[in-house]
């Protein structure tokens, strides 16, 4: 699916996709880096029913929220034939001791046996992140492992 970019001279850029229902959903990215979430109106497709200002963090959270489930569904589908293997997503909270640390610093694999297969941040997905990958608050970690391993991983990510 392609983003459609339209230049707003002097102000920024509008980036949107057109849904199957015909609605436009996207963002207006202003010069100063602030964003607005836009959703077109039904009665007048040229106009917007909503234009909601978002902070970078909020935008990232929405992006991760929308992006991660798809990844998890795909991975779960692939693992369906392997009993005991589960895929789950965890959001790295502000309080986590691993914010601004590398993925290697968590020693997740050694300590719990699970694997981080992808990290979703601000709508982009980083597949197979290396141990040097620096974690940010709000990152969504997609993790594959056994149920017990995933439970341990959840504790470890939150409390160290």
């Amino acid at each position: 699916m392609n983003f459609e970019d339209t230049s707003l001279p002097g102000l920024g850029v509008r980036r949107e996709i057109t849904l199957a229902s015909g609605r436009r959903v996207g963002v207006v990215i202003l010069r100063d880096g602030t964003m607005q979430l836009i959703i077109s109106q039904r009665e007048d497709p040229d106009a917007c029913a909503a234009a909601i200002p978002l902070s970078t963090e909020e935008a990232g959270a929405i992006g991760a929220m929308l992006g991660a489930p798809q990844l998890v569904t795909q991975l779960s589908d692939q693992h369906r034939d392997l009993p005991g293997v589960n895929t789950q997503q965890f959001v790295l909270s502000h309080e986590s001791p691993y914010v601004n640390q590398t993925l290697g610093d968590t020693h997740l694999r050694t300590r719990t046996g699970v694997s981080v297969v992808a990290i979703s941040r601000s709508g982009s997905v980083f597949p197979s992140p290396s141990p040097g990958f620096e974690l940010n608050a709000g990152d969504v970690l997609v993790i594959v492992g056994t149920s017990a391993g995933l439970e341990n991983a959840a504790h470890l990510i939150n409390d160290g």
Binding site: G10, L30, D46, A47, C48
Partner: protein, 395 residues
């Protein structure tokens, strides 16, 4: 009180007054420009109080105000946006020019103000206020609308047209011969092409030359470069403002962004001074006589702007409600109409009546333009389509 003390007191009173007016404007959500003009009118020659002391400082300050206004306008756009805008919307630009320049120019000719007068008043009615309109569109949450790029590209073309128009105006007002005028336009066109090419090719290098991580250093370099370029342009009879505009276009990327941030307070200060000085130089007792004419001109040029917007939006495949929004959004006139009238008044080549007319005209449309833009939603309600119900929806 001796001279300096008087000047300081007068300046202080003026800025304080403007601050209060600006606060009032912000409270009712309107552009402060008309209030600054009104403030100037009240205190100028023939007004309630005569502020003669600050006229010398005011002249220079308002000159710098115009330079900063145009510099910031140039900073807003990247060369690429201007070139893309030119390619995509030139026809709309021409329709805009023909429809909106003609009423002003025609009225000036009817009044017997001659060719310079026609050029000035045509410019005043032609150029919409990109500042007011961008603010209104953003306030009304219309940045994501499909007609918004159409409106913005018309504004871009108007601003770009200023780069040719202002040198022509300067040459005409200076009473240059046809050949001299042609030379000024040639230089202006040559510079614009050069600057656009240079900005497209060497934008990052030019920006690096100006850029500095130290605020103070950066500010001094920026202002220095702007005044230098403006002065040189003025010496070449190309209009100081256009030089600053070109410099703004040449600076791009993150440098342009931080330059905007640094310059904004200075621009606000000096531009406010410019509007006040323009008001000061206009005799308020001349306004009532030209008011009917200003109202007529405002009505006619509002209709022509609406026609421009409707035409351009229709051509871009926008539905009827969007066309109405685009048309009404374009009505507001403001800072650049005053810049044009200000240049004319400063040259002494046009009658005071014209300045009074321009003031009354801008006062009307800077206030009514944003109001008109808000009328679009109720006006376009009958044209909304009854969309089939969508299972997902709360809107």
């Amino acid at each position: 009180m001796d001279g300096t003390a008087l000047i300081l007191v007068e300046l202080g009173a003026v800025f304080l007054g403007l601050g209060l007016l600006g606060r009032l404007a912000a409270r009712v959500g309107m552009s402060p420009v008309p209030l600054y003009l009104l403030g100037g009118l009240l205190f100028g020659s023939g007004g309630m109080v005569n502020l003669a002391g600050i006229s010398e400082f005011g002249e220079i300050a308002s000159e710098i105000g115009v330079i900063l206004l145009l510099l910031m306008l140039g900073l807003e756009y990247t060369a690429r946006e201007l070139v893309t805008g030119l390619k995509g919307a030139w026809l709309a630009g021409i329709v805009d020019l023909v429809l909106n320049f003609t009423p002003g120019a025609g009225l000036a000719l009817l009044m017997g103000w001659g060719f310079p007068g026609a050029l000035v008043l045509g410019g005043v009615t032609y150029v919409s206020s990109s500042g007011i309109i961008a603010k209104v569109l953003s306030d009304l949450g219309r940045l994501g609308n499909r007609e918004t790029p159409v409106v913005l590209s018309i504004l871009v073309l108007e601003d770009l047209a200023m780069a040719i128009y202002l040198p022509v105006l300067t040459a005409t007002l200076a009473g240059l011969s046809f050949l001299g005028g042609l030379r000024a336009v040639g230089i202006a066109l040559g510079t614009i092409t050069l600057v656009l090419l240079a900005a497209l090719r060497f934008g990052p290098q030019i920006s690096r030359l100006i850029h500095s991580s130290d605020r103070e250093n950066f500010l001094l370099k920026l202002i220095g470069a702007a005044l230098l370029v403006a002065g040189l342009a003025s010496a070449l009879q190309v209009s100081a403002a256009v030089g600053a505009f070109m410099l703004g276009i040449a600076i791009s990327g993150s440098t342009a962004h931080s330059a905007t941030k640094i310059l904004e307070p200075l621009r606000d200060l000096f531009a406010a001074m410019f509007f006040v000085v323009f008001g000061l130089n206009t005799d308020p007792t001349t306004i009532p006589a030209v008011l009917p004419m200003a109202v007529l001109l405002a009505v006619v040029t509002s209709l022509t702007k609406v026609a421009t917007g409707v035409w351009a939006a229709r051509r871009a495949g926008i539905g009827v409600p969007g066309r109405i929004r685009a048309g009404l959004a374009l009505i507001a006139r403001g800072e650049f109409s005053i810049v044009i009238a200000g240049l004319a008044v400063a040259s002494g080549a046009v009658t005071g009546e014209l300045a009074a007319l321009a003031t009354a005209y801008v006062l009307l449309l800077a206030v009514l333009g944003p109001v008109a833009a808000r009328l679009a939603e109720p006006l376009s309600r009958p044209f909304l389509s009854k969309a089939a119900p969508e299972p997902d929806t709360a809107f």
